[in-house]
């Protein structure tokens, strides 16, 4: 087909044909690779998780891309066997030069295989909390709740402690509650359980957990833990805290604040106040 094209005499016929073939390969191949990857991604998302579908899509795209590059190099007259041999040497050199990138790529593979988090999960890494948008070749993109995107290198994710808040379907909310020393602990526990029982978002089971932690500086300290569906975190936290406060107010349960008593000298003696001049008889200034 290409031989039929009539070119001016000053153009090298072979070179022009080669360039044309390369352009055709790339021009058709790249959109085809993208299309194929997209097709695989769409098919995979029906059967696999979002994360796995994204990985499948990327594998197809990069494999197609490598195949295209090999075809282009072949067209340009490179012998693949020689090229691969040279690539080994170049690879060693590049490896030394790009240790971080290689480390990120390998870490990325571990992250994907380990599946400690996936696209759509809410994670916390080094103080950054957000929704995982993607796990790419070099980094993971996380969207924070104030709508910023944080790029976290895969190597960091492998090394750091990653908290996945949405791995399991249900979670526990731990509330630290302090009540005045005069309160009956059993009664407070009963009130808390009743509040949780009436809150439709608090799971009946696993049952709420009540822990009397001890005697604090200014309050009887207790922990009340309720379970909820992971997506209800904000609703549960807001509604439960409000309901506990309202119920404590109704029941007359005191939530104390820190008290400070200042003594001078003897522990139980009152604070000494001494009148130095009695001016009560004087008329006030106009």
């Amino acid at each position: 087909m290409f031989a039929a094209i009539d070119l001016p005499s000053w153009v090298d016929q072979d070179l022009a044909m080669t360039i044309l073939r390369v352009l055709v390969i790339l021009g058709l191949g790249l959109p085809l690779a993208r299309g194929l990857a997209s097709l695989v991604g769409r098919a995979a998302v029906k059967r696999l998780s979002q994360q796995s579908a994204m990985v499948a899509k990327k594998i197809v795209y990069y494999a197609s891309f490598v195949l295209l590059m090999m075809m282009v190099l072949h067209e340009l007259g490179f012998h693949l066997a020689t090229l691969l041999g040279a690539a080994g040497i170049v690879g060693v050199a590049l490896g030394f030069a790009s240790q971080t990138s290689v480390s990120n790529i390998i870490s990325g593979l571990f992250l994907i295989s380990e599946r400690s988090f996936e696209v759509g999960d809410i994670i916390e890494v080094n103080g950054t909390t957000g929704v995982v948008l993607s796990i790419d070749l070099l980094s993971a993109k996380v969207r924070t709740f104030d709508n910023r995107v944080v790029r976290i290198p895969n190597e960091t994710l492998i090394k750091a402690d990653v908290i996945n808040y949405t791995h399991f379907p249900i979670r526990r909310l731990d509330l630290e509650i302090g009540v005045a020393y005069k309160e009956d602990i059993a009664r407070v526990e009963g009130i808390l359980r009743e509040v949780a029982d009436r809150n439709p978002l608090c799971l009946d089971e696993p049952e709420p957990v009540f822990i009397f932690k001890g005697f604090g500086d200014s309050a009887l300290e207790m922990k009340f833990c309720v379970w909820f569906m992971k997506e209800d975190i904000l609703k549960v936290r807001n509604s439960l805290l409000r309901e506990i406060k309202e119920r404590f107010d109704v029941e007359g349960v005191e939530i104390p604040f820190p008290h400070r008593t200042i003594y001078t000298g003897a522990v139980t003696a009152p604070f000494p106040v001494k009148v130095v001049e009695d001016r009560s008889g004087e008329e006030s200034e106009p």
Partner: protein, 265 residues
């Protein structure tokens, strides 16, 4: 039970329907259906206006649907909740090994509101239901919590407008005494029938083989014999296939049979 009969609400008219604790107001305007409900909230905000009121309380907002001109027919249908329910008996309940028992469990219903052409407007729970989890913290199923005591005879259960009675025939084939702490009922496989003044579901047959063994549950295709003259009011949400296979051990298994899970502590 006349609340389940179709009713006509002409433009400018309103109706109030009481189903157990649920009060449902239906209003027809020229171009809309409007619905408001109260009484099914958590106790903290429960509306306690026991006397009939023509207007819903302030906290019950009207929900609105566009309606074709001339449509005035509306129908309420009792359906079972949209998730499985975990029935938690109020006291300790034990079944000895080898015993066959017949239990009746009360399940709160939802009300499906349909227009004349069977378009579903909404579904409203008649009572306040709490979320609960059936399974382990790392794997399980979200369900509704129901705290009612199973009874041994239908007559022992009160006939309430907002509850359907489910008959469960349980054969305890295990060797140890079974302490029934939770009963997970996939109500999506259950239909609602009306028989006299009571609502019924189709019957359930369950076989318990023992702890950590797979038992079976068969959701039958008809109302139990206790519900004589039963008329079906609604279908199951998740129909199950009825292909039956008999296993070598004589256990009746089918595609509609599934693992029956009995919760432990």
């Amino acid at each position: 039970m006349e609340q389940w009969n179709p009713m006509d609400v002409a433009p400018g008219q309103a109706r109030r329907v009481d189903i157990g604790p649920l009060c449902l107001w239906i209003r027809r305007t020229e171009h809309e259906w409007r619905l408001a409900w109260a009484g099914n909230e958590p106790p903290a905000v429960r509306w306690d206006g026991a006397e009939a009121q023509d207007e819903p309380p302030a906290h019950a907002e009207w929900s609105r649907w566009a309606a074709p001109t001339g449509e005035k027919r509306i129908r309420l249908v009792p359906v079972l909740p949209d998730r499985g329910v975990v029935v938690r008996p109020e006291g300790s309940f034990r079944i000895s090994a080898g015993v066959k028992v017949r239990l009746f469990v009360r399940v709160p219903i939802w009300v499906r509101v349909l227009t004349g052409d069977a378009t579903v407007l909404t579904e409203v729970s008649t009572v306040h239901l709490s979320n609960t989890w059936f399974g382990e913290p790392d794997a399980g199923e979200l369900a509704w919590a129901v705290k009612t005591d199973p009874v041994f005879a239908a007559a022992e259960a009160p006939a309430l407008d907002h509850e359907a009675l489910c008959r469960i025939d349980l054969h305890h084939k295990g060797v140890e005494q079974l302490e029934l702490k939770r009963l997970f009922l996939r109500v999506g496989h259950l239909r609602v029938y009306r028989a006299g003044a009571r609502l019924w579901t189709n019957g359930v047959k369950a076989v318990y083989e023992g702890k950590d063994k797979v038992g079976s549950v068969d959701y039958l295709k008809s109302a139990p014999s206790d519900a004589s003259g039963a008329v079906k009011l609604s279908d199951e949400r998740e129909p199950v296939s009825g292909v039956l296979v008999r296993g070598s051990a004589g256990l009746l298994r089918s595609l509609e049979t599934e693992r029956f899970r009995w919760g432990g502590a």
